[in-house]
Amino acid sequence: MTRAFDLKDDSVVVVIGSGAGGGTVANELAQRRIDVVCLEAGRRLSMADIVNDPPLMNERMGWHDERRGVGVNLCKTVGGTTMRWSAVSPRFHDYEFRARTTYGAIDGTSLIDWPITLEELEPYYDLAEAKMGVSGTHGLPPSAENSNFKVLKAGGQRIGYKDITSAHIAINSAPYDGRSRCRQIGFCNEGCAIGAKWSTLYTEIPKAEQTEHFELRTEATAVRINHDRTGKVTSVLYRTSEGQFHEQRARAVCVAGNVVETTRLLLMSESSRFPDGLANTSGQVGLHYTRHMANGSTGLMPGPVNMYKGARQAGFIRDEHLHDPKRGFAGGYLLELSGGPPDWVSQSAGWGEGAGRWMENYTNLAQIFLCGEDPPQETNRIYLHPTEKDEYGLQVPVLEYAHHPNTKAMLRHAAQQARALFSSLGATDVRDNSDQLGGGCHNMGVARMCADPQDGVTNRWGQTHDIENLFVSDGSLFSTSAAPNPTLTIVALAIRQAEHIAGRMVRREM
């Protein structure tokens, strides 16, 4: 029962993006009987379109528009990057919400504390885990331990780790919410072919459509947010796949373009009132862009592992997820299970005789993904290229990013630990992925939440400090990156934000 709203209907909330942030905030608003128009730049795949073919799926759902600078790995499709994510869903720790207080001043960083605490977010973490069917929570069993996980666990125990779990994965460990349990297919990042992994494509979006308060417009690329003389946003201009432009009136706007497009849209929406970009009187839009300490380590084990059999990242070790300056860096990291097809693993192979031999032993390889906190720096930023335009005539985004020495120190420590873990089980040849500067899968910052409006762009609800009816609803909100994979926290913040927006609307404050 999907609704169709009039372009002139100014009672709707326009949500830009349909991924973890946008899809969630849209559904949560619709469930509260608030009318929503969701604009998604990509197409809507059917389950039949989701196949075990990584290059084909990258064509179908990857974001391929021109960008400059460091690479990112995002999706342009209904469901956004929840189609590609591995579903690792750890919560942040308390200390990570107080990064500046906990770590102190670190040269070259722009650390702040979050304007919210873990205690405030905990109820929303609960709601997010229930929504997403996170394994080991809400009565769901932990995820099944595949052979690759058993290597991680056995090696972890041998080097003294205690906190090793296959829980906290947003893939159904049992039938849940009308979706099947995981069948250990192994192509999690190509969109889950049976819908066992949480993705907004087959959870939030159809649920929202059932409310009759929601309309999804696909292949609708937002290009500008307009405001009135009082400084409130009033409409969103978007381009259709046929190249036509439409303007949807709005009561409020939520932007969830996975950091890069969120930045671009705010900056492209400059006006005489906001000459440096919408909601950018602080000059902070696009700054403090973080990506995580992220790296892979792959061990050639003494027996078969067959890492392709099963969920790719169903488990992790939490012993290093703490702040312990004795290790030589601030913040912590997780050692997560990782696996994938040969072309994925070959990234770590290097080249030459050894690389060929290593790849011929593909069935004996085990892999770890290392994911840790990356402190914000003002010099890591996203901005519009001054002259270059893409094929649609829009300014090309530029991503400037370099690791802070703290991140480099953490990378070294994490690589050593992963090597020790594999070696403890008799691995003969351990290879690190050459550091891809965080890989570009986890993107955070650029419109960060902050108590002092000079430090960022948004307040504790994700509302922009400048504009009372303009919200940011994706990972752009993160005041700091913390160590965990970002999606669970994006969803928790989006649920909390929807509750806040609905409350203000009911009280006629917006």
């Binding site: 064509e59 052979s147 058993k150 080249w351 011929e360």
Partner: protein, 161 residues
């Protein structure tokens, strides 16, 4: 999304690899890659990821250097310049050098755009090839059955402690 059939997909893959190479060259004068240059590039692909049991054809496919694939003048020019670079690095005829000298020469240019581009193209194409999968024991797609009833947790060599 029925318009994305297998043919188009292969076409796109091919174009991606060629475009990557084409972007680092200017226009070729001759319009055709010489047999010597092809031999040199094929040898380079084999040295990057040596697998004795694979035929030259597999590497040619990965490298996109079979004559039917190379038409783009800028790609040919990039290949020609790369082959020249190999000779310069080998201080003579790279292809005629012994294996160790060939590897040393490759090492000396491994940071160059030519090397990195070729390595990336060969690596991704090679390890996405079902012929290579068979060699290394990877069975490819598994949906919808998956491995839940087919040994996803059957590791048997881990120590008991």
């Amino acid at each position: 999304m029925t318009d994305l059939d297998l043919g188009r997909r292969n076409f796109l893959r091919c174009c991606t690899a060629l475009a990557m190479l084409g972007s680092i060259g200017a226009y070729s004068a001759t319009g055709e890659l010489s047999e010597q240059d092809k031999d040199a590039l094929l040898r380079m692909a084999r040295l990057l990821y040596p697998h004795q049991k694979l035929s030259d054809e597999v590497y040619e496919t990965a490298f996109q250097i079979s004559s039917t694939n190379i038409k783009d003048p800028s790609t040919i020019e990039a290949f020609e310049r790369g082959a020249e670079m190999l000779d310069v690095a080998a201080q003579g005829n790279w292809f005629a050098s012994d294996r160790d000298a060939q590897i040393d020469a490759l090492k000396s240019i491994e940071k160059s755009e030519f090397f990195v581009t070729v390595q990336e193209a060969v690596r991704t194409q090679l390890y996405q090839d079902p012929v290579v999968w068979e060699l290394i024991g990877y069975p490819g797609p598994s949906a919808p059955l998956g491995y839940i009833d087919r040994g996803f947790d059957d590791i048997d060599w881990l120590p008991e402690d």
